[in-house]
Symmetry: C2
Subunit: 207 residues, 2 copies
């Protein structure tokens, strides 16, 4: 099976496994079992073993998974052994929340540049990150090895920005604008419509 | 098949269908086909028809789906015909972004109260929403019919808050803290670890 054929639902769980192994290593836990992983993450232990089996033979029967080894494997699988440089477009509340979110940096995910249509002079820095006018997007991207872009603009502006990002060589887009984006096939889009989370809860509470 | 047996991956797509039907109605489009839906949302038309078939016979062969009717059906399925009152805990950047996110209200999802361990006096209102000290959580929840809570606190604080929410009768939790929460079986938790989106992109760009 090619990695690209592994079901999305399994890929979605990998970051959660990674976090748990990472936490275990930092707590000096050497081994954890699929049962413990399952209990911590609310997944059946059989499913845990099945998920890992897509990527290799990682566990030892009766002993479990060695936390440091598995964390390293998951880092490689997830591409976290690479330091990603990221641009974010849209300096509203959400953009600000994402730039100041401290869970990205230690994963090697660095929001390096922020762009907006109208960066106010007084706010031309967001923490340590420079905020540029959108007109500079192309020149800054071409000077840097940046593959990931975050869209935190209103829905109306998103497609236009994405077209610019694609031309500038961006290959992964994390889209917070509540609209579907059209991109070439080699560009991966992850849609993160914030309302989806609440609608999903509304669904589960109604049914 | 019971609604609770419908695969999560299908449930995840319902809000996107809902948004597309809603947009179509507002653009005065009367009918749309599964092909059009598929193209707009990047899903195969066969999958679109299959997804809807879990909930009923909605389309007409050769005509497609009547947008107003389908929007109404999806509203009922998703529980959006009900006006949900919501509490949010944690008044950091993320909490602020969520309170000011304008995509919730028109779906009948209203963040009514915000709580924090230390609301600064100067910021005791976030837009139209009152910010209360967390000590008032129980009394305010008991006075109001609130079933959904949003956790926008640091990871360390989350479980403690969730225990309080559960005691106060909350049945749905949208968790932005990067930690797994333990809750009784009748409480539905949706984990929204922000780093997951970026890790997932990192994975797809690496493989």
């Amino acid at each position: 099976m090619k990695v690209s054929d592994i079901p999305g639902i399994i890929v979605e769980r990998l970051p959660r496994y990674y976090r748990y192994f990472d936490k275990s290593v930092r707590n000096n836990v050497d081994y954890i079992s699929s049962k413990e992983i399952g209990e911590e993450l609310g997944i059946h232990s059989t499913q845990v073993r099945k998920d890992f089996s897509y990527y290799g033979e990682f566990g030892k029967r009766g002993v479990g998974y060695e936390t440091t080894f598995l964390r390293g494997q998951l880092e490689k699988i997830l591409g976290l052994n690479y330091s990603w440089e990221i641009v974010l477009i849209g300096m509203g509340n959400l953009g600000e929340a994402l730039v100041s979110y401290d869970g990205f940096k230690r994963l090697g995910l660095n929001i390096r540049y922020v762009f907006d249509v109208a960066p106010k002079l007084a706010e031309s820095k967001l923490g340590d990150v420079e905020v540029y006018n959108i007109d500079n997007l192309d020149s800054i991207l071409k000077k840097n090895e940046i593959k990931i872009g975050i869209i935190a603009t209103p829905a109306e502006a998103a497609q236009d920005i994405v077209d610019k990002l694609v031309v500038a060589g961006i290959k992964g887009i994390w889209n917070f604008a509540p609209t579907y984006l059209h991109t070439p096939e080699d560009v991966h889009v992850r849609n993160e419509d914030l309302a989806t989370g609440l609608i999903s809860l509304s669904y589960h509470l109604s049914n």
